[in-house]
Symmetry: D2
Subunit: 371 residues, 4 copies
C-alpha cells in the first residue's frame, strides 16, 4: 500500500451496497494513472472501463500506458482493454472520473451528464460555469446544492462536478480556515510547482533541469479566480464569488510531486498573535457530510512548527497526499500573516480530490449503487 | 574567457597607473573562488595575498582549495601560498576583498581599515551601520560620500564598503529604476535562490534534491531591509532608509547559480501601461562615476519580452553575470506591477559587486595606485 | 503504510512469543531513521533503546533528529530519550541494530557481543573477518553456521552479523542466481549510486547537482570483494571466498534513493539464450529458513522486460524496497551477459537487510524472546 | 566569449582568403544552436543560410528558435530567414553543417554532395558506409584520404564527412592514445550521458528528474562499432575496422551537458605502471594537418590527477569543450587499466567536432574559398 492510500481510513464504516461501477476517462496520462492507483482497493468503487485516445483502441491498458508511478500498476488494470472515450463505451459506469484534456472534456463530459452519468472531472473546461461546482469537500461540500440548478438548467440526468486546479487546492483549504476565523481581504500567493503537474511528456528536462521557469500558461488566472469561487456561496443564480482578491505568481521548479505556495494575507480581524492563527488552522474541521468518507484527509490541515517545513519532497504525501500541510506561520510586515502551503498536486490537487468528490456524490444520494 | 568576464569591457580606457596590489580574504570558499576568477586578468588590480584559515597556513592555494568553478583555476593563484587572515600578512595590499564569515569579518575588517586598507566586503557584519555603505555602484555610487563620516567617526585611515546580500542586489537594481520613475510604496518579493548562495559545503544534497526549502536563516530580514538602505539617502547622520516597505519570502531551490525573485509593487504614480514600466527599466543609466568602469554591467538592466524568461540557468550570466535581467512585466491585480528578476548571486550578488565597488573607490581617488 | 513496509507479508505466521526487545545504535543518521521506520509495527521486535552521540544525551529523539524520510516519524520514537552508545544503556535489548560509523562500531560492537547481545550491523568494521558473516538471507542464510566459530574464537556470548555494502547487496543477489545456474567467472560492474548512500549531511548539493562524481572513497574495493564472500562457503576456517573476479567502477549520481548497477558477466556454462538467463533469475528461491520471514523479499528478484527498466526512482521500492529488480538482460559482445540491477540502498542495502538478518537469528533460535 | 570558444586559438595564423560561405541545416535544434554559437566570429566561415522544417519557411530565425544556450543568440542569426532544407536554398554555401535528423539527412545530404557541396554532418545516416569517414581530426585526420574513393564511387563533386556519435568521440580520443602506446584488445565502456544529447524536447523531465534511465535507443550499437572505424585504417576498399572489441552500456543521467564514460581496457602490451599510461595520454599529439586549426583542442587530452575528477558539470567545457578530459587512471583487477572520460557532447561530440572537420577540409584544399 502506498503513502497515498493512507487516507483510506480503515475505520470508515463499510457501506452496505454493491460496488459502484466507475469509468476512468483519459486513463493513460499522469492523472489517469493516479486514478487507477487510488481506486485500487477502493471500498465503494469498481473500475469497469478505461478510456484513451482512439488510436489505441483495443490495446490492453498495460501495453498502452507509460506507467510513471513508483506504485506498481495493478494487475486488474493492466489487463483491461482501452476503449475510445464515448458514452457507449462506459460499460454501465454510473460515475466517470475524467482526466481528459480540457478541449475533449468540453465536448464529451456534457454528453455523459446528459445520459445520466455523474462526471467527476479534473479538467478545467467547466470550472467557470456558475452552476458547476469546484468541489473541495473538506471546505465546500455544501456546493453540491448547485447541482439541482445544473440539472434544471441543462436538462441533464447526471451532472458535472469539478475539482480545482492543482495549485488552487491546498491554497484554498488554508485560506478557508483563515477566512472562517479572521475574514480574508487580500491574498498574495507565489507557487513553486512540481513537474508532474504538467502531465506527460509535459516539461522537457532541458528546460527545467537545475532551473526555474517563472511562467505556466493560464495558471495565474486560475489561481487568482478559483479560490474565490471555492470559498463562495450558493445562490439561486449559481455560485457567487467570495469578495477577497488574489495576486498570483506561478513558477515551475525541478520537483517531481508536490506544489509549494508561499502566501501573505490581509485579514478583516487579524489574529492577536501567530498562535491564534495556527490554532485556527489546526482546529479546522470539514463539514459533517464530508467528514468520514474513505478519502477524507485526516487531518484536513497539519501545521508544522519546524522552521524549514513544509517541503514538497518530505511533506506532500502527508495523510496519503490528501492533507494540506502549512508551516512558517508568522507576521507579515505589510499585511497580517505569512505562511507556506504544501499540497500533493496529483492526489489532493487532482485524482484524489476527484475521488473524494465522488464519495460526496454517493453519500449524498446523488449516485446510487446498482440495485 | 568565461561568460562572467564579459563585463570587462575592452573599450574601458586604460588607467595610466601601476597595478594596485589587492588581497583576497577567505579565498578558499565559493565567493573567494569567484574573486580569483574575476580578478584573473583584471586591468587595474594585481592579487598579492590570499588568506584562509590558520590551519592551512603555508599550503599552496591549489592544494588547499576544493575548486568548484567550471572556469579553470588560474595558474598564478594555484601557486600562491595561503596565509592566515591578519593585517601583517597582506603583502602591501592597498585594498582587500573580503569573503570572510561574518563573525570573523566583524573582528578583522576594522583592524584593516584602521591600518589604512580599503575593505570591499561581501560579509554582512557592518551592513547595518549607518556610516558603512551597501554599495551597488550602478544605482547608488553617491553613497561613497558617507565614507568621510566613517573615517571621522572611527578614526580609520582606510574604510569598509559592503556589497548587498545576494538576493537584495538584483532586486534593488530593478526597484531603483522603478522608484526613480514611479515612486515605490510597497514591495512584495519572493525569492527562489540557488544553492551556491549558501557556500560550500552549504546545502546538503539530501535536503534540496528534487525539493524546495522554504526557509533561509536570517535572509528575509536582510531582503526586507537592505534595499531600503541601498535606495536611501546620505545625510549628516549617515544613510537614511528609503520610506517604502518590503515583505519577503525566501526559498532555496535546486538551481546551481542565479537567484530568481518574483515581485509585486505598489507605486506612487503608476505607469500608464506595461510598456511605460518596461521603458523605465530599459532606459535606466548608472550614475556618471560608475558608468565606464571595467565591471560596469552593460547594460545595467535587460528586459526580456519572451513570456517565460528570465530563467536562472539561461539568463544569470547575462552581461558577464553583472546585468540584472527582468521579465514578465505585467499588471498586478491588487497593486500596480508584477515582474520577475534574475541576477547572478556569486557575481553581481557577491564577488563581482565587490570588484565593481573597488573600481569606484579607485576612480574616486580614495584608493591610490602605488607611487 | 509506506512502500518499504510492503515486505511485511501479512500472511507471515504469528510468532507465539513476547516481543523481543531491540536497540538501535546510531539512531539519528539516515540508516538509523530507516531502522525506526522499518521497525514501526514490526511483528516480532520492540524498540527499547535509541542511542546517539554523547553530546545529545538526554534529548528526546524527536528533538535530536533531522528526520529525512517522507514517512512520518513514529510518535513512540519521537518521545524516546536518546542515550549514549554503551552496553549499560541498552535497556535489556537482546539484539542491537547498528548504524554506527565504522570506527565506533569497531570498538562498541565487540563489547556488546561479549555481553551476550546479538549485533546486526550495517557498519563495515567487521565484514572482512572470516568468522563474521556478511548475511543476505535470501542467498546465504546458511552462513549463520559460522557464528559458532565466531563465539568459540572470541569467547562471545552474543555475536556480530553484518549486512553488505549497499551496492554489493542487489548485485550479489543477481549474481547468486546466475552463479547457481551458470557458474560465474568474471564480473564487470559499474554503479550509479544514490546520495542517500552517503548519509547526512553527506554529499554537498554544490558537488552533485546536475553532475556525476565518478568516485566514492573505498567503495570499489568493497564491491570487488564483498560479493565473493557473500557467495562463498562456510569452512572450518571461516568463510572462503568464491573464486570469480570483479572489476568495479563506482559513481555518485543525483538520485535520492536506489542504486543502479550495470553488469557484464563471463559464465562457466553460458545460457542457451537470454530467456534461459531470465528464467534462472525469476525462478530464484531463497533458502528454506529465510523464505517466510517478515522481511523476506517477495519475490527475491523481479525481472523487468521493458526496454528501459529498472530505474531507481520508479523501481527501488519494489517489494517494499527488499526486492532486487533486474532488467535489460541481453548478450554481451565480449563476455556472456549484460544486465541492469536496481536495489534500494537504505532498505535492502542497509536497514531492511539488517532487520531481515535479525529475523534469521530469531528463527534459527540464536536470539530468544524473553522468558 | 563563452567557454566553448576558448579553443579558437588567437595564435592561429590568419588564413589569407575571403570568408567561406557556409549553411547550417536543421538550425533550430540543440545541435543547430551550438553550430550558430560556435560559428559566431569564426575566422574562416561566414553563415549564409539557415535551414529548418518547411512549416517555418520565411520566419526569422530569432522567432522560430527556442534558444536554449546560456550564450546569447547572436544578432546576425536572429535576423536571418529560416529556409526549407533544399539544395537551391543554400545561398551559395560551399560547405553545409548538418544537424538534420538521420532520415532527412539520408535523403538530402547526397543531393548536396552531388551538387558539389561539402557536408559536415552530425547525423548518423552515412556513418556505416566504408567510403564515408567518421572524422575526429585530432586522431584520424588521415581518413580524409577515403574521400577520393567516395567521389569516385558516387560521382559526387562534393562529399560527406561525419562526426561520431557524441559518446564515441571522447572515448575514441582516449582509446587512440592508448592504442598507439599499448595496443587495444578489449574495451568495456559504460556511459552516463547528458540530457542535451537527446535534443529538444528530448527527454521528459518526469522521466529523468532524480533518476537514471539505463537505456538509450540504438546507442550501444554505435558505441560498440564507431570507435573501431575511427581507429581503423584507410584501404582501397574503404575504411577497415580496427580489430579490438567493445562492450557498452549506455545510460541517461540528470546532467545538462557533458557525457561521462567509465572504461576498462585489456591491452596488448600493458604499461609498466599507471604513470606510463598517464604519460601516454598526456603526450598525445594530433596529426600535423590537424594541429593548428581554429578548433584544434588545446590540449587534445587533459589528465586530471584529483581522485574525483573529471566531472561533467565542472570539466566538460575544458579547452572550450573540445578537449577530452581523462581521470582516475588506475589498474583494473581483471584487465589492465580503468579510467574515466568526460567530453562535451554538443561541442566535441557534435557541432564543435563538425566545425573542426570542416577546417580540415579547408586546410587540405578540398573546400576552397570563393575566388
Amino acid at each position: 500500500m502506498s503513502p497515498i492510500s493512507q487516507s483510506l481510513n480503515p475505520s470508515t464504516p463499510q457501506v452496505s451496497h454493491a460496488p459502484i461501477p466507475v469509468a476512468i476517462l483519459g486513463a493513460t496520462g499522469t492523472v489517469g494513472q493516479r486514478f487507477i492507483s487510488l481506486l485500487d482497493g477502493h471500498p465503494w468503487f469498481r473500475v469497469v472501463a478505461l478510456t484513451g485516445s482512439a488510436r489505441r483502441d483495443g490495446q490492453r491498458y498495460g501495453e498502452a500506458v507509460h506507467w510513471l508511478l513508483s506504485e506498481p500498476l495493478p494487475a486488474w488494470a493492466a489487463e483491461m482493454p482501452l476503449v475510445p472515450t464515448a458514452p457507449e463505451n462506459l460499460n454501465g459506469a454510473a460515475l466517470a472520473f475524467s482526466a481528459l484534456p480540457s478541449d475533449v472534456a468540453r465536448e464529451i463530459e456534457p454528453q455523459l451528464a446528459s445520459c445520466g452519468v455523474w462526471v467527476c472531472s479534473n479538467a478545467s473546461a467547466f470550472r467557470r460555469e456558475p452552476d458547476v461546482p469546484i468541489l473541495l469537500p473538506e471546505i465546500n461540500a455544501d456546493h453540491i446544492a448547485v447541482l439541482r440548478q445544473q440539472q434544471a438548467n441543462r436538462g441533464w440526468k447526471g451532472g458535472i462536478v469539478t475539482n480545482s486546479n492543482c495549485t488552487s487546492s491546498g491554497l484554498s483549504v488554508a485560506l478557508k480556515a483563515l477566512d472562517d476565523a479572521f475574514g480574508l481581504r487580500q491574498v498574495f500567493a507565489v507557487s513553486m510547482q512540481a513537474i508532474s503537474g504538467a502531465g506527460y511528456p509535459g516539461v522537457a528536462a532541458l528546460d527545467i533541469a537545475g532551473n526555474v521557469i517563472p511562467y505556466i500558461g493560464g495558471e495565474e488566472a486560475k489561481v487568482e479566480w478559483e479560490p474565490r469561487k471555492i470559498l463562495g456561496a450558493v445562490t439561486p443564480e449559481g455560485i457567487r464569488l467570495a469578495d477577497f482578491r488574489i495576486s498570483a505568481h506561478t513558477n515551475r521548479v525541478p520537483v517531481v510531486d508536490g506544489h509549494t505556495v508561499v502566501v501573505s494575507v490581509a485579514l478583516k480581524r487579524p489574529p492577536a498573535d501567530t498562535e491564534e492563527a495556527i490554532r485556527a488552522l489546526e482546529a479546522y474541521q470539514p463539514p459533517e457530510i464530508a467528514r468520514d468518507l474513505p478519502s477524507t484527509p485526516r487531518p484536513v490541515i497539519v501545521v508544522r512548527r519546524d522552521p524549514d517545513r513544509p517541503q514538497p519532497r518530505l511533506d506532500a504525501s502527508t495523510g496519503g497526499g490528501m492533507t494540506t500541510v502549512v508551516g512558517r506561520v508568522r507576521p507579515d510586515p505589510i499585511w497580517d500573516l505569512k505562511f507556506v502551503v504544501v499540497s500533493h498536486n496529483t492526489v489532493r490537487g487532482a485524482a484524489g480530490g476527484a475521488v473524494y468528490n465522488a464519495e460526496v456524490l454517493v453519500i449524498s444520494g446523488l449516485v446510487a449503487a446498482p440495485a
